[in-house]
């Protein structure tokens, strides 16, 4: 039963990792940009949530109505003002620039909020739980997992059933021809980054409710996100959820064996899957 419990907790944790990963996956899919600053943007969203909740007394989940659009706006501006200029045949400039951005965000947060750990106070939600047949489910992890499924479903739907998603796929296929069809790729990329950072905002708030955070924790979130994306297979959002779940389960089982093994077990699961299936478990089949 204890093991089953670990698996259940790990699965739910995987929802959070999938939320870390979804934005990363979306950006890579649309513009082949690997965003090194992604983890720090998640942390930035948590801090924005902190500012909003302390200033207004809002519940952190209610603060999403402010933080999501704010992050989306930041995403669009960042893409149009900076990242578009780095995109081209060479993959190095975007890596260097987003690495620099990561350093800037971390230092900016340190300057503005200090290095003290913070957290978002979600009240009773943080400790509420549900007991079913000997297993206890935290309401927050359950909610996180449900949100992850809803977000991934929503992204998938946007991709395959809306004009915006069609534009994302067209630009990803062939930038020149998409431009010829009246789609300005710089604008489309801006919208993709806006959407990705909107998802990142949700991830950041849920992270901030779940654990305490400080300006330096972005790097590890980036790694978890990466691992979830790669395990699941690039370009497959449901695969990303599966990747998040596998990572989460590996971590909780590792922690069960020895608390010090939590992170290591996740990385080992990642490496094993990478060795056995270099393209991840569910790579997108391209026609």
């Amino acid at each position: 039963m204890e093991w089953l419990n670990a698996i259940v907790q790990g699965t739910l944790l995987g929802g959070l990792y999938a939320l870390f990963a979804a934005g990363l996956s979306l950006i890579f899919g649309v513009m082949r940009l690997v965003n090194i600053a992604h983890g720090d943007l998640i942390v930035l969203a948590a801090y924005l949530g902190l500012t909003v909740t302390t200033a207004t007394g809002m519940h952190p989940l209610v603060a999403l109505v402010i933080v999501v659009p704010a992050m989306a706006l930041i995403g669009y501006a960042l893409q149009r003002g900076l990242l578009n200029q780095t995109l081209g045949d060479d993959i190095l400039p975007p890596l260097l620039v987003t690495f620099g951005l990561s350093v800037i965000i971390q230092n900016g947060l340190l300057e503005a909020y200090s290095a003290d750990p913070q957290d978002l106070d979600a009240g009773a939600l943080e400790t509420a739980s549900l007991a079913v047949g000997g297993l206890t489910f935290g309401i927050l992890p359950l909610l996180t997992f449900a949100i992850a499924i809803a977000v991934i479903w929503g992204l998938q739907w946007t991709f395959y059933h809306t004009a915006l998603g069609r534009a994302f796929r067209a630009v990803s296929d062939n930038q020149d021809i998409a431009q010829l069809m009246g789609l300005n790729r710089r604008h489309i990329f801006g919208l993709a980054m806006a959407l990705a950072l909107g998802v990142t905002a949700i991830a950041g708030i849920l992270l901030g409710i779940r654990t305490s955070f400080d300006p330096a924790i972005g790097g590890a979130r980036l790694i978890f996100g990466f691992e979830a994306v790669i395990i699941g297979g690039l370009g497959n959002l449901w695969g990303t959820l599966a990747g998040g779940v596998i990572l989460g389960v590996a971590q909780t089982i590792g922690a069960k064996i020895d608390p010090g093994w939590q992170l290591l077990a996740g990385h080992i699961a990642f490496l094993v899957i990478l060795a056995v299936r270099p393209n991840g478990l569910f790579p997108r089949v391209s026609g």
Partner: protein
Amino acid sequence: MPDPILQTCGLNSFYGDFQALYDVALDVGEGEVLAIIGANGAGKTTLMRSITGLLMNEPGQIHYRGHDISLLRADQVAELGLAMVPEGRQLFPSLTVRENLMIGAQVNRKGPWDLKSVYKLFPILEERKDQASTSLSGGQQQMVAIGRALMANPDLILFDEISLGLAPIIIKDIYQALPGIIGEGMSAVIVEQDITKALSVSSRVYCLQEGRVSLESASDTVSREDISRAYFGIE
């Protein structure tokens, strides 16, 4: 001759340091069908890419309805009513047939062309509308590429290598459909390897040779000797 809808003058195009077009001057009349011929590597595709804004040019080199479009991006040029059927179709592989067509309507211009009229022109596309565009035969893919360009309701449509790589029977079909496409008052530029076909559908013809215009003539009076001289540069 009617007023030109498109005019290039002194057009020079470059890929980095390499100059692919030299001082190209041509014009397309309103409602006119123009043919462009020339050997492989002569610069035909480069000319199309320059006109549509995929290649950048110096100001003053390309005019569309009197406006200088040399500096506009491809999406801005498209909004003015200039569409292209690119060489090698270049459909979007992750989009279905119908989605490929819908992307063409992105510029939001009014006119006779919509999904319904494109399906009427090429009924096979309606049957295949939910398939991946890559699952179609070459000829059907060319129909999608043509339909996609039409969906923009352009005033000027450019066809780059309209029949390259297609079976003769398909080429015949496409040429049969052509009057129905261009007949609605549209102007067209057709790049074509098959000189007889090119001459039969156009009113005037230009030949490019190594990036320069080597011949400009009315299509019905041009002689075979003039063409081979312009084509191969044999004096």
